[in-house]
């Protein structure tokens, strides 16, 4: 099939970018969206031009490297799917497809479709851990049974891949879903109790410092999260935060 691609090109963080038009023929249904971009890049390279830069690594929907705003939707039209897992059979012959980077103040563009998401790492560094050293004589893993339901809920929250779709989809560029997923995981586990309060305070504080916006409960983040992370986590984090602030 043939596509009219409208792709954001930007040399570096200081330059101004703009949308470029590419006509691409010979796209196959079995290609993933990123393979379609590979295909375009191969064509550009054969013409001696610079390829379109985009982030990617695992191409299995798990590393969280890939991003892209496709026709105005983070990770494109298929729900619960990362861009690397999106296949061209979801598009029509002759369709016009807009491809842009994830946009947010806290995600500056590095080049073309690549953005800087290191703000996410800094939120995690502020408190997303349990302070336990590797000693080799930690207590046996089965000493504390954890109710299956809590373990499963903690797991569900922990499946966040840190791609940033929640931020890109939110009109306020809020990072609440991302931050709350981690806060929830630890608050649901017995191991996470000791640092429960300092964790939520520090992480939320860092989130604000990075310039992410406030949450106004639009739910866009959950709708466009490729891993279906639930907004229940945000409610849980709000509770945790309130409790911790009161106790402070």
């Amino acid at each position: 099939m043939k596509l009219n691609l409208k792709i954001w090109r930007q040399k570096n963080k200081d330059s101004k970018g703009k949308v470029h038009d590419y006509e691409l023929d010979g796209v196959e249904e079995d290609m993933s969206f990123l393979e379609m971009l590979d295909f375009l890049n191969n064509k550009l390279l054969n013409e001696g031009q610079e390829p379109v830069a985009f982030d990617h690594d695992c191409r299995e929907g798990i590393c969280g490297s890939c991003s892209l705003f496709i026709n105005g939707v983070a990770h494109g039209p298929e729900r619960g799917t990362t861009t690397c897992q999106l296949h061209m059979r979801k598009f029509k012959d002759g369709e016009t497809v807009y491809v842009e980077p994830f946009r947010a103040k806290a995600f500056p563009v590095i080049k073309d479709l690549i953005v800087d998401r290191s703000s996410f790492d800094r939120i995690q560094q502020a408190g997303a851990y349990i302070s336990v050293n590797t000693s080799g004589n930690t207590q046996d893993a089965n000493t504390i049974p954890i109710p299956k339901h809590n373990a499963d809920e903690a797991f569900n929250a922990a499946t966040c891949i840190g791609c940033g779709a929640c931020v890109a989809s939110c009109k306020n560029s809020s990072a609440m879903l991302f931050t709350s997923a981690k806060v929830s995981q630890f608050s649901l586990l017995p191991q996470g109790q000791v640092e429960r309060e300092s964790r939520v305070l520090n992480m939320v504080n860092q989130m604000d410092l990075e310039g992410f916006g406030a949450c106004t409960n639009t739910g866009a983040c959950e709708a466009q999260c490729p891993k279906g992370i639930s907004v229940k986590n945000i409610a849980r984090m709000n509770r945790e935060y309130l409790l911790a602030s009161v106790k402070k």
């Binding site: 054969n46 690594d57 590393c63 690549i114 851990y129 954890i146 586990l189």
Partner: protein, 750 residues
């Protein structure tokens, strides 16, 4: 005359240096000698000749230093006098079960106050690198960690699906440290170092304790205790898991441990950085040259020791289940600086991957081995059924039980669908080569969940007091259980293939997945370059010729949490008075120039073909001639073809853009250059190993039934290759393997 201005022709220069014209041309082509073209004729300035001679001299000096150190080691070693392996494996004395504890007791320690004076570089933030970085920092060392992704959390380990082994025996099914040790040695077809494997089995239990303490949400049963599943090649349930995302959960655990240390200022994280050279000072690894992938700038980083945790090199095949960026560069660069490379041809081809669908495919997707717990593998018994399936006149579900060939259950009744990976992969290839492949390429077999769906459905109906004879109800209940266990894998399959695996069997075929070979290390995980260590998939040590499922995660975390942080102290204890390592030295300058020269070459090259063109070609050669089965003729051919490809690559590769800028093509070019060199060594290693063992199947060496035929008399060794310069052949050293605790037997899963 001003020497700086005199220009030489190729003829004059050849005469002046007393070498052939060809040599000069080659150096010009490779960028070692800079030349300007005047009227289409090469002109070389005295300055560029000087810098060429100088660089070479400096490099020769550094090489001489390395060699001196190697020689010193070799001479202090009795083995050398007997003309054996020139390096000690440093396996401690004593009974197998006491070795590690004795060793830990005797190892030199660095006091907490002194650790603060010592810097360690860790290249890689996968399970091995992240766990090592975190633990080293906890102990008090100053750690600098590097990864090429935009965050350490995205390392390739994140994609591991199925699980991690540990000898906890929570299921009470007779598991023990010894059994895990034995299974791993046997699974590896008796080509691993016994003492390393035993240590791995010993620390495996600590890993689970550690991860749970960090908040890793493993799967649990209704009693709240940890659940287990089975993996191939074993008869117990010892695999811990977090649905199909075990690697993700373990890596995020290690990432959180790293974050804690970043927050304390003990780890400095360099994401989007790629190591391009190792720096050796006075015979010891003292730093690296890394390229900042955003600005393109080269940076010098010094440390008292360098740990390579850069993962495996499966992408030498182009198509593999590895992440797109996984590469051999870090391992290859240290190899070229003196680290031996062990068993490069030992590759794991995983039996259950989604088959190749088209020309533009960029990678292959694994369907976790855990699926073989419940999935049954088959092809039709009759060729006419195969034909009808291809013509879409028949669906797999239409084929009668009696017309299906469950070939693994038929050939290996004891282990059935859970035979080790190498065995399962070869059996699939055998059926497909015989014409029973079930997709248009002829390279696919079925993985069928129908029996499991019915079995689980009946169990559920029974325990809920519902009608066991109601087929649609039973199926519905069964599918729910399958969904709970493998939901995300089924979803992934459907996204890629557009087929619903709850309704029709999956189609699968073997694909490159893991590399058992890697940098040679001693018992302390140190390479043959003093102060340079290799951990995780990057080293060769624990899996022999075939890795068992769920053992890579175990090894990565064992190396990083429980082994390296202690064994490295033995070496660093002599460094407490060294002080900071300066980066303003000749050695750093030369290494930086080397890296720069290679990068500039690609930017300046006037080729026309993109990097991927060459990578795909290399992959084709590797898959066709060094893949699931190998023979002498084709391996020799592969070596020649790779040599040709190398020439073509340097002549015709096109890299757009600029050096000091974000430039993915440039990064890829460097990686493919190293893959090409590794590919040649790989083929050479496969050629030399005149036996079949594990993943290495030589057609000349098989039993009548087509099973692998090992040759313990002549090949019971680790092949450790020494780099001898790009103009000469590498040298093979053999580390003899000694089996004290396990009897050398032929492997049988029948």
């Amino acid at each position: 005359m001003d020497n700086g201005l005199k220009m030489f022709s190729i003829n004059e220069l050849a005469e002046f240096l007393n070498v052939s014209k060809k040599t000069i041309r080659r150096h010009i082509a490779s960028g070692k000698i800079e030349s300007t073209k005047v009227g289409g004729v090469h002109r070389i300035s005295m300055n560029s000749i000087n810098s060429f001679l100088n660089i070479n001299k400096d490099i020769a000096q550094v090489d001489a230093n390395i060699n001196k150190e190697l020689l010193r080691k070799a001479l202090t070693n009795d083995a050398h006098k007997k003309n054996l392996f020139p390096f000690e494996s440093r396996v401690p004395e004593g009974k197998m079960e006491d070795k590690w504890n004795n060793h830990k007791r005797k190892i030199n320690l660095v006091s907490p106050a002194n650790k603060r004076l010592i810097d360690v570089i860790v290249v890689g933030t996968g399970l091995a690198g992240a766990s090592a970085s975190a633990t080293l920092a906890e102990l008090g060392y100053n750690v600098k960690s590097f990864c090429f992704q935009d965050s350490s959390r995205r390392a390739h380990s994140i994609a591991a699906q199925g699980g991690i082994n540990a000898a906890k025996n929570y299921q009470g099914d007779g598991d023990s440290v010894y059994r895990l040790f034995y299974d791993t040695v046997k699974g590896g077809d008796y080509r691993s170092r016994e003492a390393n494997v035993h240590r791995l089995a010993e620390v495996s239990t600590n890993i689970i304790d550690q991860c749970v303490a960090q908040g890793v949400p493993f799967a649990r049963d209704y009693g709240g205790l940890l659940d287990n599943r089975s993996f191939g090649g074993v008869l117990v349930s010892r695999t811990f898991y977090a649905k199909g995302q075990t690697g993700q959960q373990l890596l995020l655990g290690a990432y959180s441990a790293m974050n804690r240390q970043v927050n304390r200022g003990k780890i400095k994280m360099y994401a989007r950085h790629e190591m391009l050279e190792l720096v050796i000072v006075g015979g010891k690894a003292r730093g690296i040259i890394a390229r900042n992938l955003i600005t393109g700038k080269l940076e010098r980083h010094s440390a008292h020791a360098v740990v390579i945790a850069s993962g495996g090199y499966g992408n030498v095949f182009f198509l593999s289940t590895n992440a797109m960026g996984s590469n051999v560069t870090a391992a290859w660069k240290i190899h070229k600086k003196g680290a031996y490379f062990a068993n490069p041809c030992f590759t794991q081809i995983h039996p259950t991957c989604i088959p190749v669908s088209g020309e533009n495919q960029s990678k292959l997707t694994l369907m976790s081995e855990s699926l073989r717990n419940d999935g049954r593998i088959w092809v039709p018994k009759k060729k006419e059924d195969v034909k009808k399936i291809l013509e879409k006149k028949l669906k797999p579900t239409d084929i009668d039980e009696s017309d299906r060939d469950y070939y693994l259950e038929r050939r290996y009744p004891a282990f059935g669908n859970l035979v080790p990976r190498d065995v399962a992969s070869r059996a699939a290839k055998e059926r497909c080569d015989a014409g029973y492949g079930v997709n248009k390429t002829g390279e696919a077999v079925y993985l069928d969940f129908q029996s499991a769906i019915l079995r689980y459905g009946k169990e559920q109906a029974y325990s809920k007091g519902l009608d066991v004879k109601n087929n649609s109800l039973v199926e519905k209940l069964g599918k729910e259980i399958i969904k709970q266990k493998y939901g995300n894998l089924f979803e992934m399959y459907e996204k890629i293939t557009d087929e619903n695996p709850y309704e029709t069997p999956m189609m699968i075929y073997p694909a490159v997945h893991y590399t058992m070979g890697g940098v040679w290390v001693d018992y302390n995980l140190m390479t043959t370059v003093p102060g340079c260590y290799a951990i995780g998939e990057a080293n060769f040590s624990d899996h022999g010729a075939n890795r068992l499922g769920a053992s890579a995660l175990m090894q990565g975390l064992a190396d990083g949490y429980f082994v390296l942080p202690y064994t490295i102290g033995d070496y660093l204890s002599s460094d407490i008075r060294t002080g900071k390592i300066s980066i303003d030295t000749k050695e750093f300058e030369i290494a930086e120039k080397e890296a720069l020269r290679k990068l500039s070459f690609f930017i300046d090259n006037k080729g026309s073909k993109p990097v991927d063109y060459f990578h795909k070609k290399l992959g084709r050669i590797m898959w066709d001639k060094c893949g699931m089965s190998r023979n002498k003729l084709e391996l020799k051919d592969a070596i020649l073809e790779i040599k040709k490809l190398k020439k073509d690559f340097y002549k015709n590769v096109f890299v757009p853009g600029e050096l000091y800028d974000y430039n993915e093509e440039l990064a890829k070019a460097g990686r493919v250059a190293d893959f090409i060199e590794l590919g040649e060594l790989f083929a050479r290693d496969a050629l030399e190993r005149e036996e079949s063992c594990g993943g290495h199947f030589r057609e000349e060496h098989q039993t009548k039934e087509g099973e692998a035929l090992r040759d313990d008399e002549n090949f019971n060794f680790v092949s450790a290759w020494e780099f001898k310069g790009s103009e000469s052949n590498p040298m093979l050293h053999k580390e003899k393997l000694i089996f004290d605790s396990v009897e050398l037997k032929s492997r049988s899963y029948k």
